[in-house]
C-alpha cells in the first residue's frame, strides 16, 4: 500500500528546531534543519541519530529543503552537512541563500564570543554548507531527480520565506514553513494555488489567536518611541541583523519623515549596508507598495538612520539605536543596555522572542535587579516594553490557507500542543479532512491511492475513433486492450500488437456451456430447429448451418447431442471465444429459455 510518512524531529508540538522528515513514494525529504536557541549544548540541534541509523545519510535523504532564514529553521544546517556528514542537495530560495549565511555567521560569532564554544561549526563550514545549496525561484518546478520535484510559493513572514510543494508522481505534500496571510509594511501575504495535496503540513504558532491588526502594534510602537525621545530619553531596540530590523527601520524612517523629527536614529550592526543591499536585490519579494514606489524612492535607503559608533552611546540627548544581538545576550546591544539601564527616562523595546538565560528574557519577565559579572548588580530603571512583530498566520489565516490549498489531510507543526488540539478539531469540523499533530519522534502514516499513468497506443486509439464515437469528458467509454507492464511503464495496446511486441503466440480460449432441453427429436433435427430460431431472432448476425450439423453464430459454435442419462432430453453445447463473451452469454440465456414450438 503506498503511503506518506511524516516524522517531526523538531517542531512536533513545540516551537524551535524545526526539522520534519517526509517519506513520499520512496523518496525521503527533510523539511527545515533548525536550531533551538534555548539550549547551550547539542540538544539545540535535532537528534539526527534517528536518520543515521538508516545507513549513510546522503544515500537515505534525497534532499533537504529550507523554508526561510530564521535560525529555528536553518540553524543546524552547517552542523548537519559538515559535521554529521550530509552531502546531498539543499534547496532554498535565492534570498534565503543570500541571507542564511549572514545569520549563521552572526550566531556562530556570538556562540564563540560569548560562550567560548570551541566545538561549534566554523565560518569555513558555513561556506562549504552554502555551496551545497541549490537556489530556486518562486513557482519554478525543480526536478530533484527523475521522480521527485519541488515548487516554491510565496509565504510572506520574512524576506525569501517560501512554502514548498513536494511531489512524486501524483502524490504531493505541501510544507508551509512560517507564513503570514496578511501583508505587512514590507512584505506581501502568503499565497498558494489550489494544488490539492495529499497532505498540508502547516505551522500553527497562533493556532488559537486572532491577532489584532499589525497597524495597531505599529502605532503603539511609534507612540512609545516618540514619547521617550520627546522627553529626552534614549530608546534601545535590540534586533537581529536582518529581518524585523528592516521592517522597524522603514516604520521609523517614514514616521520621522512625516513628523519632521531630528532626533538621530542609529543602526549598530555594520550590516545595514548588506541588509539593504539584499532588500534592493530581492525587491520583487517585497510588497506591492515598496515595489511600486521603488523607482521614485527606495524604501531601503534610509535618510534618517545612520551608522552607529560606540562613542555615540555616551552622547547627551535623545536618540534611537538599533543594536544586535536581539536578545541582549552579548555584544553591543548588551553594552548599550548596561549604560542606559539606570535612567528611567530611557526605554528598551524588545521586538521579538528571548530565550531563557538572556538578559532580554530576564527584563521581560519583570526582573529589575540583574546580577552581572563580578557580583555587580545592575538596577534596571529604564522602561521595558515587549512588542511582538513576528509575522505568523493567525487561526483565521491558517484556515484560509487550508481552504486555498484544499488538501486531503492536514498536519500541524510549530506550535503548542494545547493550541494545536483546538485548531485540529476546528479544521476537521470545517473541512471534513483528517488533521494530525504528531509529537517529536512520532510518525504519522497516511495511505494514498496513487494514480498510475498508462500510455495508450495510437493504433488502439485510432481504432476506437474509427468506430465513430468521439470521446466525451464526462461519459466514460469502455475500451478493450492489453496492458503491458515493462520497465516500470504501463501501456495499453491492442492484443495483436501486444502479442507482436512480446513475441507470444495467440492461444485460443473457448468457453463451453451445456444447455439441457427436453426434446425427443433427433440431434440433426434439433440443430435445424436451433438454426431456424436463431436465424429469425438474430437478424444482424451471420448464422450458419454447417454440413456436419452444427450451427455457428459469428465465432460461436452450437452442437446438439443426446443426453447420456435421459433419452427424453437433448444437450446443446454452446462454445465461444472470449472475444464473443457477450454474444455467447446472450445465446446461452436465449437457448435456456427453450425453442419455439414448431407448428405441427
Amino acid at each position: 500500500m503506498p503511503e506518506i510518512k511524516v516524522t517531526p524531529l523538531g517542531a512536533g508540538q513545540d516551537v524551535g528546531r524545526s526539522c520534519i522528515l517526509v517519506s513520499i513514494a520512496g523518496k525521503n525529504v527533510m523539511l527545515d534543519c533548525g536550531m533551538h536557541m534555548g539550549f547551550n549544548d547539542d540538544r539545540r540541534f535535532p537528534d539526527f541519530s534517528y536518520i543515521t541509523q538508516n545507513g549513510r545519510l546522503t544515500d537515505f535523504l534525497d534532499c533537504v529543503i529550507i523554508s526561510h532564514f530564521h535560525l529555528d529553521h536553518c540553524g543546524a544546517l552547517p552542523y548537519f552537512s559538515e559535521m554529521v556528514g550530509y552531502d546531498g542537495p539543499i534547496y532554498m530560495t535565492h534570498p534565503t541563500q543570500a541571507i542564511c549565511p549572514i545569520l549563521l555567521e552572526d550566531y556562530r560569532k556570538i556562540a564563540v564570543d560569548k560562550k567560548g564554544e570551541a566545538n561549534f561549526f566554523t565560518s569555513q563550514m558555513i561556506k562549504d554548507c552554502m555551496k551545497k545549496v541549490v537556489a530556486v525561484h518562486l513557482h519554478q518546478t525543480v526536478q530533484v531527480d527523475d521522480e521527485l520535484e519541488i515548487k516554491a510559493y510565496y509565504a510572506g513572514h520574512v524576506l525569501g520565506a517560501a512554502m514548498f510543494q513536494i511531489k512524486v508522481g501524483s502524490e504531493s505534500v505541501v510544507y508551509t514553513g512560517d507564513y503570514n496571510m496578511t501583508p505587512d509594511r514590507h512584505l506581501g501575504a502568503a499565497w498558494i494555488d489550489k494544488c490539492r495535496p495529499n497532505l498540508l503540513i502547516t505551522e500553527s504558532t497562533y493556532a488559537t489567536t486572532i491577532r489584532d491588526s499589525k497597524r495597531c502594534r505599529e502605532r503603539d510602537f511609534l507612540k512609545k518611541v516618540h514619547e521617550t525621545v520627546e522627553r529626552g530619553g534614549k530608546v534601545l531596540i535590540p534586533v537581529f541583523a536582518l529581518g524585523r530590523a528592516q521592517e522597524l527601520c522603514i516604520l521609523l524612517e517614514t514616521f520621522w519623515e512625516r513628523m519632521n523629527l531630528k532626533v538621530p536614529i542609529y543602526f549598530s550592526t555594520g550590516l545595514t549596508e548588506k541588509a539593504n543591499h539584499y532588500y534592493k536585490l530581492f525587491i520583487t519579494w517585497t510588497n506591492q507598495k515598496i515595489r511600486k514606489t521603488f523607482v521614485q524612492r527606495n524604501m531601503f535607503e534610509f535618510k534618517h538612520i545612520k551608522a552607529f559608533d560606540r562613542a555615540f552611546a555616551d552622547n547627551p540627548g535623545p536618540m534611537v539605536v538599533f543594536a544586535t544581538p536581539g536578545m541582549l545576550h552579548a555584544g553591543q546591544s548588551l553594552q548599550i543596555f548596561r549604560k542606559w539601564a539606570g535612567n528611567e527616562k530611557n526605554m528598551v523595546i524588545m521586538p521579538g522572542y528571548c530565550v531563557q538565560g538572556t538578559v532580554g528574557h530576564k527584563i521581560l519577565s519583570g526582573q529589575r535587579k540583574l546580577e552581572m559579572e563580578g557580583r555587580q548588580v545592575l538596577e534596571v530603571k529604564m522602561q521595558v516594553e515587549y512588542m511582538s512583530f513576528s509575522a505568523h498566520a493567525d487561526a483565521k489565516g491558517i484556515m484560509q490557507l487550508v481552504g486555498q490549498a484544499e488538501p486531503e489531510s492536514v498536519l500541524l507543526v510549530h506550535g503548542e500542543a494545547k493550541k494545536m488540539e483546538f485548531l485540529r478539531q476546528k479544521i476537521e469540523q470545517e473541512f471534513r479532512v483528517s488533521c494530525y499533530m504528531p509529537a517529536n519522534g512520532e510518525t504519522v502514516t497516511l495511505p494514498t491511492n496513487p494514480s498510475i499513468p498508462v500510455g495508450i497506443s495510437l493504433g488502439l486509439l485510432k481504432r476506437e475513433m474509427a468506430q465513430g464515437l468521439l470521446p466525451e469528458a464526462k461519459k466514460p467509454r469502455l475500451l478493450h486492450g492489453t496492458l503491458i507492464m515493462k520497465d516500470s511503464n504501463f501501456r495499453l495496446v491492442s492484443s495483436e500488437q501486444a502479442l507482436k511486441e512480446l513475441g507470444l503466440a495467440e492461444h485460443q480460449l473457448r468457453f463451453t456451456c451445456r444447455v439441457h432441453l427436453q426434446d425427443t427429436r433427433k440431434e440433426q433435427e434439433m440443430a435445424l430447429r436451433v438454426y431456424s430460431h436463431l436465424k429469425s431472432t438474430l437478424k444482424d448476425h451471420c448464422v450458419q448451418h454447417l454440413p456436419d450439423g452444427s450451427v455457428t453464430v459469428e465465432s460461436i459454435l452450437i452442437q446438439a447431442a443426446a443426453h447420456s442419462e435421459d433419452p427424453g432430453a437433448k444437450v446443446l453445447l454452446v462454445s465461444w471465444t472470449y472475444q464473443d463473451e457477450e454474444l455467447g452469454s446472450f445465446l446461452t440465456a436465449l437457448l435456456k429459455k427453450g425453442l419455439p414450438q414448431t407448428p405441427s
Binding site: 540538544r43 544515500d59 560569532k109 551545497k132 555594520g270 555584544g331 531563557q356 538565560g357 538578559v359
Partner: protein, 843 residues
C-alpha cells in the same frame, strides 16, 4: 520529547555542584508553581536545564541529604501524584519522573523514597502508566528515563521486576514515538546487563536457565520476538541484541549468542529475509565483540550465507563491516570484498572494459546476475547502489584493514567509465551498457560519489601509465559546461589529490612526467572557472589555486604554467568580486601567490608596482569592505606575511604594523580585532623574543635577543600606539578580544620587567591620568583617547593592573552568571507572573 544525552562536559562546567542557600530559598516557591495547575511553566528548556542541574548536584553529593534539606522536592513528587487527571501537566509529570529517577539512583535515597511509596506511585502499574496523560509521548519518555536513572543498583532492579515495568517496556518497544521506542530498547539492554553483572566473573558462564529471573524474562521475550511473523517484532528483538552485544562484553553474552544464534540463522531461511538491515547490524555487532575473538565458525558461516543471499544494496553495509573487522577468516573477507566490488565489475563488463586481474571475477560470478538486475532495474536503484558502493570503497581504502591486493587498476578504470557514463562521453555497445548510459547520464549524485572516490584513489599505488586517463576525465569534468557547482568542487578536490600524490616513475624528480602537461591544459580551464557566474565555482577554483600554490609554489613547471596564464590577473580582479566569500578567498589566494612571488611575471618591469598595489588593495579592503570575511582574510594574510618576513612588510615593518592596527582597531567585527592582536603578537615575538614556555619543564626555545635595547623598543611600541590598541582591546565588549589582549599585555609585562634601562616615571600624575582613562574605558566609555604615552608611564600602568585576575574572569564564559542555577530559578519564577502577557512567541 526525545531522550538525548543529558549534557556535554562543556555544559556541566558552568553549573554549581552544590545547592547553595539562595537556591534552597527559591526552590519551595518553584516546586509550588510546578504543581499548581493554574500556573504555566515557561518552556521545556527550563525544565531540562533544571534537571541538568539536579543531576550535577546528585552526582557530586548525597541525594538523600538533598531531599532531607529540601523537603519541597519530595512534596513536589507527591503532589504530582495527587493531582486530578485534568490538572496534570505532561511536561511537569515527565520532569518529575526523571527527577525521581535521578534521586533514586543512589540506593539510600531509593529506600527513602520507597518508604513513602512514591516510587511505586510514579513507576508502578497504578501510576502514570494507567493515566490518560500516558498518551503523551513526553510522559512515556520521562517514565523510561526515570526508570533508567533509577535502575543502578540491586534494589532498583528488584523494584523493576516487582513493579511490572518490564512488561510495559516490552510493549513500549513498539511505541509510536521513535524516541520512546528506542529508549525502551535501551533500557531493556541496561536491565539485562545489570542483572547479569554479578554473573560475569564466574567462568564458565552459567547456562541461560540459571540466569536471574529478570534476565530470563527479557531473553524469553527476545526469543519469542525472533520467531514472530511480524517484521516489526523481529526488528525490535534484533535491535535489543545489537545493543547488547555492542555494549556488554562479558562471558554471558557468549552463552546468550549460543542460545539465540539458531533462531537468528533461521531468519535467513525466509524469503525475503525479515529486517535485513537490523540483522546486518546484529551480525556485525557480534563479530566486533571481543568475546567472540576466537573463531566462531557458525557466526562466519551465517555471515557468509547472509552475504550471498542479500540483495546487493543490503549486502553492501555487511560487506564493508566485515572487511573492517579486526579478525575474520580470509575466505569471508574475500567474499565480502567481491560483494563490494561486484557493481563496479558489472559496470566494466557491461561497458566491455577489461575486467581487471584474472581471478578476481571468479568469486564474483555468484551474485552477478542479481547485481546486474539491480543496476538495470531502475534509475534510482542503479544510482543508489553505485553511490553506496563508491562511498564504501572510499571509506575502506585508507583503513589499515583495507584488503590486499587492492585492485587499483580495476577501480580506476571503473570510476573513469562511471564518470564517462555520467557525462555522456562513453558509448558502450552492449544493450546493458546503453541502459546504464541512460540511467547515469547527467546524474550529479553518482558524479559526486565517483569523484570523491577517485580523489581517494590517488593514495593507492597506481601504475603511472593510467594517470593520464585520470587527468583526462578530471579535465573533462572541470571543463564541461554541464558540471554543476557541487560536482566542480569535488572535481577540484580530486584534481588536487591527484596532482599532489601523482605517482612518478622511479628516479623522476620535480612534478613527474604528467603534471606539467596537465597543468598547461588545466590553467585555461581554471581561468574559465574563475569567471563563472556561480560564486560557488569561483570560490572553489580559488581555494584549489591556494592549496596548489602552497604546495607547488616553488616548482619551476608550476610557476611557468601559472605565470603564462591569465590566472593571477583574474585572481586580482576577484578582489572586487560582488560576493564576499569570493573576495575573502581571493585575498587569501593573492596573499599566497604574493608570498611566492607569483602574482605577475617576475621579470616584468612593473613587478614592484604590482606588489605595492597589492598591499594598497588589501589595505583598502581592510578599511572599506562592508563584510567581515574579506577583512578577516586580509588581517590573516598580513599576519602570515609578517611571520614569514614578506618583502613588502620587511621594507618598513613598523609602518606596516601601525597602519594595519589603526584600521583594525576600528573594525566592527571582533574577529578582525582579534586577528589584529595576533599580528601584534607576531610582531612582539620578533622584536622582544618568543613568549616564555608556559610549562617549566618544556624545552625552551633559544632566546631571541631583541635587535635593539629594550627602552628603544618600548619607545617604538608607544609611537606605534600598540599599547593604546591593546588597552582598548582589553576592555572590548567581545570576550575573545579582551582575552587575547590580556594575554598580550601579560606577555609585555613579563618581557619588560625588570627593565633596567627605564626610570620610574617622573610625573606620577601622568600615570594617574592613564589609569583614570583606563577605568573609564573599562566602564564602557571609550570615547576619550589615551593620548601620547611614555614607556615609563605604560610600564607603571601595566604593573598596577591586576591582569592575572582579569585573565581568570575572562576565561569564564561571559554568560556564566545567567547560566547559574539561581538565575534559572529566578527566571522560572519570574516568568510565571508574566507568561500570559508575552504569549509564546518565536522568531
Amino acid at each position: 520529547m526525545e531522550t538525548r544525552a543529558p549534557l556535554s562536559a562543556h555544559g556541566k562546567e558552568n553549573l554549581c555542584l552544590v545547592m547553595d542557600p539562595e537556591c534552597s530559598r527559591l526552590l519551595p516557591a518553584l516546586c509550588a508553581v510546578l504543581v499548581d495547575p493554574r500556573q504555566a511553566v515557561a518552556d521545556d528548556t527550563c525544565l531540562e536545564k533544571l534537571l541538568d542541574w539536579f543531576r550535577t548536584v546528585t552526582e557530586a553529593g548525597s541525594s538523600l541529604l538533598l531531599l532531607q534539606e529540601n523537603p519541597c522536592l519530595v512534596d513536589l513528587l507527591s503532589h504530582v501524584l495527587d493531582l486530578k487527571p485534568q490538572d496534570v501537566s505532561p511536561r511537569v509529570l515527565s520532569f518529575s519522573l526523571r527527577l525521581a529517577g535521578t534521586f533514586a539512583a543512589q540506593e539510600d535515597c531509593f529506600e527513602y523514597l520507597q518508604q513513602g511509596k512514591l516510587l511505586l506511585g510514579l513507576f508502578g502499574e497504578a501510576g502514570p502508566l494507567s493515566w490518560a496523560v500516558w498518551s503523551v509521548p513526553t510522559v512515556r519518555s520521562g517514565w523510561i528515563q526515570g526508570l533508567k536513572s533509577l535502575v543502578q543498583h540491586p534494589s532498583g532492579l528488584h523494584f523493576l521486576g516487582d513493579s511490572g515495568a518490564v512488561d510495559a517496556l516490552f510493549s513500549l518497544q513498539g511505541d509510536s514515538s521513535l524516541f520512546v521506542a528506542s529508549a525502551a530498547s535501551q533500557l531493556l539492554v541496561h536491565v539485562l546487563a545489570l542483572s547479569m553483572q554479578g554473573k560475569a566473573k564466574g567462568s564458565p558462564s552459567p547456562k541461560g536457565n540459571a540466569w536471574p529471573a529478570c534476565a530470563q524474562k527479557i531473553v524469553a521475550h527476545v526469543e519469542a520476538s525472533l520467531c514472530s511473523a511480524a517484521v516489526l517484532q523481529v526488528t525490535q528483538a534484533l535491535n535489543v541484541l545489537t545493543t547488547t552485544f555492542g555494549r556488554c562484553h562479558s562471558p554471558w553474552t557468549e552463552v546468550l549468542w549460543g542460545q539465540l544464534s539458531p533462531l537468528v540463522a533461521h531468519l535467513l531461511e525466509s524469503d525475503p529475509i525479515p529486517a535485513a538491515h537490523s540483522l546486518v547490524d546484529l551480525l556485525l555487532s557480534v563479530a566486533r565483540s571481543p568475546v567472540f575473538a576466537s573463531a566462531d565458525c557458525a557466526l562466519w558461516e551465517t555471515m557468509a550465507r547472509m552475504l550471498s543471499c542479500l540483495s546487493p544494496t543490503q549486502a553492501g553495509p555487511l560487506a564493508l563491516g566485515t572487511l573492517k573487522l579486526q579478525h575474520c577468516p580470509q575466505a569471508l573477507r574475500s567474499q565480502a570484498f567481491a560483494v563490494l566490488l561486484q557493481p563496479l565489475v558489472c559496470i566494466l563488463r557491461a561497458t566491455a572494459q577489461a575486467p581487471g586481474p584474472p581471478g578476481l571475477l571468479d568469486e564474483t560470478v555468484e551474485g552477478d546476475s542479481m547485481t546486474v538486475d539491480t543496476l538495470l532495474s531502475s534509475k534510482s536503484a542503479c544510482v543508489g547502489l553505485l553511490c553506496q558502493t563508491l562511498a564504501h570503497l572510499e571509506e575502506l581504502q585508507p583503513l589499515p584493514q583495507c584488503p590486499l591486493p587492492w585492485p587499483q587498476t580495476l577501480l580506476m578504470e571503473a570510476v573513469v567509465i562511471i564518470l564517462r557514463l555520467c557525462d555522456g562521453s562513453a558509448a558502450p555497445s552492449s544493450s546493458e551498457g546503453r541502459r546504464l548510459c541512460g540511467a547515469l547520464a547527467g546524474c550529479v549524485r553518482v558524479q559526486r560519489a565517483a569523484l570523491g572516490f577517485l580523489g581517494m584513489l590517488s593514495q593507492g599505488t597506481s601504475s603511472w601509465e593510467l594517470v593520464p586517463q585520470v587527468f583526462a576525465i578530471l579535465l573533462e569534468t572541470l571543463e564541461s559546461p554541464a558540471s554543476s557547482p557541487t560536482v566542480l568542487k569535488k572535481a577540484f578536490q580530486a584534481t588536487l589529490h591527484w596532482l599532489l600524490d601523482t605517482p612518478k616513475p622511479p628516479g623522476c624528480l620535480g612534478l613527474g612526467p604528467h603534471a606539467p602537461l596537465f597543468l598547461r591544459e588545466l590553467f585555461p580551464v581554471l581561468q574559465k572557472r574563475l569567471c563563472s557566474p556561480c560564486w560557488e565555482v569561483r570560490d572553489s577554483a580559488l581555494e584549489f589555486l591556494t592549496h596548489l600554490s602552497a604546495c607547488w609554489g616553488g616548482e619551476a613547471d608550476f610557476r611557468e604554467a601559472l605565470l603564462a596564464s591569465e590566472v593571477p590577473k583574474l585572481t586580482w580582479q576577484l578582489l572586487r568580486d560582488p560576493e564576499s566569500y569570493v573576495r575573502a578567498s581571493a585575498v587569501t589566494t593573492m596573499g599566497q601567490l604574493s608570498s611566492q612571488g607569483l602574482q605577475a611575471a617576475s621579470n616584468s618591469p612593473g613587478h614592484s608596482e604590482v606588489q605595492q598595489g597589492l598591499v594598497g588593495e588589501l589595505l583598502h579592503i581592510l578599511s572599506v569592505d562592508s563584510e567581515g570575511f574579506p577583512r578577516r582574510a586580509v588581517a590573516r594574510v598580513f599576519t602570515e606575511w609578517l611571520r614569514n618576513s614578506h618583502a613588502d612588510v620587511a621594507r618598513d615593518t613598523e609602518w606596516f604594523v601601525a597602519t594595519v592596527l589603526q584600521m583594525v582597531s576600528q573594525d566592527l567585527d571582533w574577529e578582525v580585532r582579534a586577528q589584529g592582536l595576533e599580528l601584534v603578537q607576531v610582531f612582539l615575538a620578533q622584536t622582544l623574543g618568543q613568549p616564555n614556555p608556559p610549562c617549566p619543564y618544556a624545552v625552551a626555545l633559544p632566546k631571541v635577543t631583541p635587535p635593539s635595547p629594550l627602552p628603544e623598543v618600548l619607545q617604538t611600541l608607544c609611537q606605534m600606539q600598540i599599547f593604546d590598541f591593546a588597552f582598548r582591546a582589553l576592555f572590548d565588549c567581545d570576550r575573545p578580544v579582551a582575552q587575547k589582549a590580556c594575554d598580550l599585555l601579560l606577555f609585555l609585562r613579563d618581557k619588560t620587567a625588570p627593565c633596567s634601562g627605564l626610570q620610574e616615571p617622573g610625573n606620577s600624575s601622568d600615570v594617574a591620568s592613564v589609569e583614570a582613562t583606563l577605568e573609564r574605558w573599562q566602564a564602557g566609555e571609550q570615547g576619550q583617547p589615551l593620548g601620547s604615552l611614555e614607556p615609563e608611564v605604560v610600564l607603571a600602568a601595566l604593573r598596577s593592573m591586576d591582569l592575572e585576575g582579569l585573565q581568570g574572569r575572562l576565561a569564564e564564559s561571559s554568560d556564566h552568571v545567567e547560566k547559574s542555577p539561581q538565575s534559572l530559578l529566578q527566571d522560572m519564577l519570574a516568568t510565571v507572573a508574566v507568561l500570559e502577557e508575552n504569549v509564546a512567541d518565536c522568531y
